[in-house]
């Protein structure tokens, strides 16, 4: 599951014109890593909600900014019911 989420995440970031070269599970979303701004994180959350049928409340969406890629994938994965991953 985590691999699928990571692949989706990187595909989405690429489509959103972020540079993902060299990014891995330890990369952060903030300025020290991918440098995704608040609107970028908001769009990413919407895409993940759409694809995996999960929802993030406002506090969670903000917390994403502090996570690494690996933490994000595990967080989403733990939320996904197997039946809702299409």
């Amino acid at each position: 599951m985590t691999d699928e989420i990571r692949a989706f995440l990187f595909a989405a970031l690429t489509e959103m014109k972020y540079d993902i070269e060299g990014a891995d599970d330890d990369t952060v979303f903030g300025p020290a890593g991918l440098d995704v701004d608040s609107l970028g994180l908001a769009e990413l959350a919407v895409r993940v909600e759409d694809r995996f049928g999960v929802t993030f409340d406002d506090d969670e969406a903000e917390a994403l900014a502090m996570m690494t890629v690996g933490e994000f994938c595990r967080t989403v994965g733990a939320r996904v019911q197997p039946s809702s991953a299409h």
Binding site: M16, K17, L39, E43
Partner: protein
Amino acid sequence: MRAGVTVTGIGLVSPVGSTAAEVFDAVCAGRSGLARPAEGHPVHGVVDVAAFSPDIDPASVLPGPESRVVDRAVVMALRAAGDALADAGVEVGRDVDPYRVAVIVSGVGGLSTLASQVLARAERGRFGVSPYMLPGTLPNMGAARIAIRHGIRGYTSSIGTACAAGAQSIGEALRILRADEADLVLCGCSEAPLFPTFADAFGNARALAHGWSDPTAASRPFDRRRNGLVLGEGAGVFVLERTAHAVARGARRHADLLGWGANNDAYHPTTPRPDGSGAAHCMRTALRDAGLGPDDVGYLNAHGTSTRAGDAAEVAALRDVFGAAGPPVSSTKGVTGHVLGVSGVIEAAIGVEALRRGLLPPTHNLDDPDPGDDLDHIRKQPREAAVTTVMSNSFGFGGHNVSLLLGPPGA
């Protein structure tokens, strides 16, 4: 003594060039910016003819992620502003206090991006809507992005007076500089109307030129056979400065902005008042503001969009203000098309070149004026004339009238 205001920079994105000189050359040579929409363009099959500006890669003016959901209107505004600052030789922060720089860049906003997001919402629900839509489409985002890009921290706004918005932005900049609320103002407009819904609105309002086998013949201001305007896209930004500020930094001055007027017809949302009395009053206001009289105007760049009602009302207004022996007149929209609010900026730039070169551009396609129209139309060829004052008119849906007065750099 009121502070003088001078033009030190011009940046254009237009169907016929990206500098005042290029646009002026095209207008004088009758090199038309009008064309049939190319196959694959959103307005292919929607309009017969339009005035297209060069493509600009959004990533050339915005960071990658922000360049994805952004309207062409915002992209063109950024390009024109960057070119205008470069033309003026100004770097904000180095040459001028960021808090003493203002931006007034207008336009109807990113309506084509809004339209596509509405369609995506209908198809995919909320997941079709990007959070980038708002910074991509709001009408203030041209001005805001320019401020962000160049670190401008003074007064910023955008004005919503349709096809008068560009000229009005220049006029409001004059007001701000005279009031000593800024040393330098970036002012202008950006419009990207070439998408199906917007074009159909103009078409169904019977405002568009139609039925011309040669697309370059479709825009023909003041000509008896005119049957509508030709929509165009583009952007234009002026750098205006307090003259003392420009002189102190050794800037090259293109021209001075001498005065302006603005008012409303109070008549109809889209039809100008037929007797032209609103436009006439507006021109007189501009003359009074500049301390000039009708006889001082050596060239008049008309709004002249090539619609029957609009051109006729402007002819009436010009007769009212200038009498029988009025100044030489032309509308340059025969070549540029009608770039909505940007027209006033493009035409002010043409006025700057006319002052500089002592040459007045003709009205393209004006073969045969209306019976009774005895204005001194400049036709076929540019006319040599050393002029010291140029007036430029812009009128917008909503009855908005704006007149600007330009002169050569003075003391």
